[in-house]
């Protein structure tokens, strides 16, 4: 059969062959109110050249981070991506959707995933990392699901401010499924109120979740939160920004049972919000409880290193309804970008990126705090991101600054909050920041 759309005659003869008069007779279970009654409103047919021209025109209406000086963060960051990265990950051996089940033809892909897992373990201070999940939010949902399986408990406490999108994903994955309830903690000056958290702890808590740095960019007292979790037999889940770990303590070093994170800052472009990279790592005793796939290293019969998908009996395609998770997919290309990024930067390079983020963010925060009408919303320490109170609504600041060539930040009004969340990566120069402050000062 040729790969072309079927004609009205083709459809008639197929329907006749199976003994029905119309396509609708095949789908009587769909209530009629959900069926489209009129024709789709489509463009008239066009030539390839016309389509290409139309798409170019539409695409050029986008304004992306290279066109503007970007201070937007809130979970997706405008970090520099080394030029070599794109060349390496574009190699045809890697640039495929093929899943590496057949170890004998997939050694390169499997080794890359193994190296990714190893680097994530070192970065996060954990014993085992999986081959990655869809994004940071789904990694968190899988972590909560795992914690409930391990503890047999069904309430999860959020310590401090996690990303509202992560909360929404937890609602979809965990609460809507009737599996557990997720309880938000109260904040004091932008971070977890430890005393309030302690008052909510009980022996029914499956896990305590913390994001470090939190959604506001503030640093949480992760040691105290972890100690509280442990003292009640709850698992301690930490969502850590991978770049921040160039400077901050690794979750494994302060007792995280499960460490997750959004891996976009490790060499993934902003991509209009995805595909991103879900980092997921655990302490060794949970190796048989983790979701997703895992690549292991072994020796072949000639004593050479070999790589293979391992511990697959946990997975859905073998254990079916008893699988630890229904996730059988990883974000292989983004994981590859992460491993190439980390390899190119090296340990010192990553520390330097983190140092630049920290210093530049503080430089900018100090400058903005000096502007009339502006102030920092929180007094505590932060890493590369901070919340600013603005003299006019944050959305007005964002729109006005766009006309000046800046993405001013993340308008917290989107989440029924207030203020402007400003992120500073190593890409921002002093000149850009000074010009940004000058333009901000003109808004009042």
């Amino acid at each position: 059969m040729p790969f072309i759309a079927n004609t009205d005659d083709d459809r008639r003869s197929m329907l006749q062959a199976i003994g029905v008069g119309s396509f609708e007779e095949l789908i009587p279970d769909i209530p009629s109110e959900f069926c489209l009654k009129e024709a789709l409103s489509l463009f008239p047919s066009m030539s390839e050249m016309e389509v290409a021209s139309l798409l170019d025109r539409l695409a050029s209406a986008n304004r992306t981070s290279p066109d503007y000086v970007s201070f937007i963060g809130g979970g997706a960051y405008d970090h520099y991506i080394p030029a070599a990265l794109k060349t390496i990950v574009s190699r045809s051996e890697f640039y495929t959707a093929y899943t590496p089940y057949q170890a004998e033809v997939s050694q390169g892909t499997l080794q890359a995933i193994y190296e990714y897992q190893s680097m994530i373990c070192r970065l996060y201070g954990m014993s085992v990392a999986n081959a990655s999940l869809y994004d940071g939010a789904t990694a968190m949902a899988e972590a909560v699901s795992m914690a409930m399986n391990v503890t047999g408990r069904s309430t999860v406490l959020v310590a401090g401010k996690i990303h509202p999108n992560t909360s929404a994903v937890l609602k979809t994955f965990i609460e809507a499924g009737g599996k557990a309830s997720v309880v938000q903690n109260v904040l004091t000056d932008g971070v977890c109120d430890i005393a309030a958290l302690e008052s909510r702890m009980s022996d029914q808590i499956a896990a305590v979740i913390v994001q470090q740095p939190n959604f506001y960019g503030c640093l949480e007292d992760v040691e105290a939160i972890g100690a509280l979790a442990r003292s009640h037999g709850a698992l301690f889940i930490v969502s850590a920004d991978p770049v921040s770990l160039g400077l901050l303590n690794a979750p494994g070093r302060y007792g995280a049972d499960i460490a997750v994170g959004e891996g976009q800052p490790l060499g993934s472009a902003l991509n209009f919000g995805g595909p991103y990279l879900g980092i997921f790592a655990v302490a060794e005793k949970y190796v048989r409880k983790i979701p997703g796939r895992l690549v292991g290293m072994t020796k072949d019969r000639d004593g050479e290193d070999g790589f293979i998908l391992t511990l697959q009996t946990r997975e859905q395609h073998i254990r079916r309804e008893k699988a630890t998770s229904n996730i059988c997919t990883n974000q292989a290309l983004n994981a590859l970008q992460a491993v190439v990024y980390l390899s190119l930067m090296g340990k010192d390079g990553l520390c330097q990126v983190a140092e630049h983020c920290l210093q530049k963010a503080h430089y900018l925060a100090d400058k903005i705090a000096d502007l009339p009408g502006y102030s920092l919303r929180f007094a505590g320490p932060f890493f590369r991101e901070f919340v600013v109170n603005t003299p006019v609504d944050a959305s007005v600041v964002v729109n006005t600054m766009m006309e000046k060539g800046f993405f001013a930040g993340y308008d917290l009004g989107i989440h029924d909050d207030s203020g402007l969340l400003i992120a500073v990566t190593e890409k921002r120069s002093r000149a850009e920041m000074d010009s940004f402050v000058e333009n901000l000062g003109a808004i009042s």
Partner: protein, 127 residues
Amino acid sequence: MNIPADLLYTKDHEWIKVLDDGTTALVGITDFAQSELGDIVFVETKPVGTELSEHDVFGTVEAVKTVADLFAPVDGVIVEVNEALDAAEVVNSSPYEDGWMVKVSLKDASQFDALMSAAEYSEMVGE
């Protein structure tokens, strides 16, 4: 195929051995089961104190390419778990001795009547 005469068997390929005290018994999987599973890499059982009814799942046995549930042959309470199974391959090498899985405190001796003798189990697995 090794099918000791002094044990009782289930159709799910567990064996049970009543100990001399008459009130406790060891439970494991048969030589046939371990050979069907292949290289066993992990055994997980419910903890001491777990109450079991006949045919309850009391754990899982994991081989390289598959995993199987373990079913309680009779009612009872788990009173001991075999610590030696940290080296799970012992189930392959010694399914009836060193590779026992749990010791259970027995509830109802009449349940033994429903289990298979070595001869019956041997017939079931085609030996």
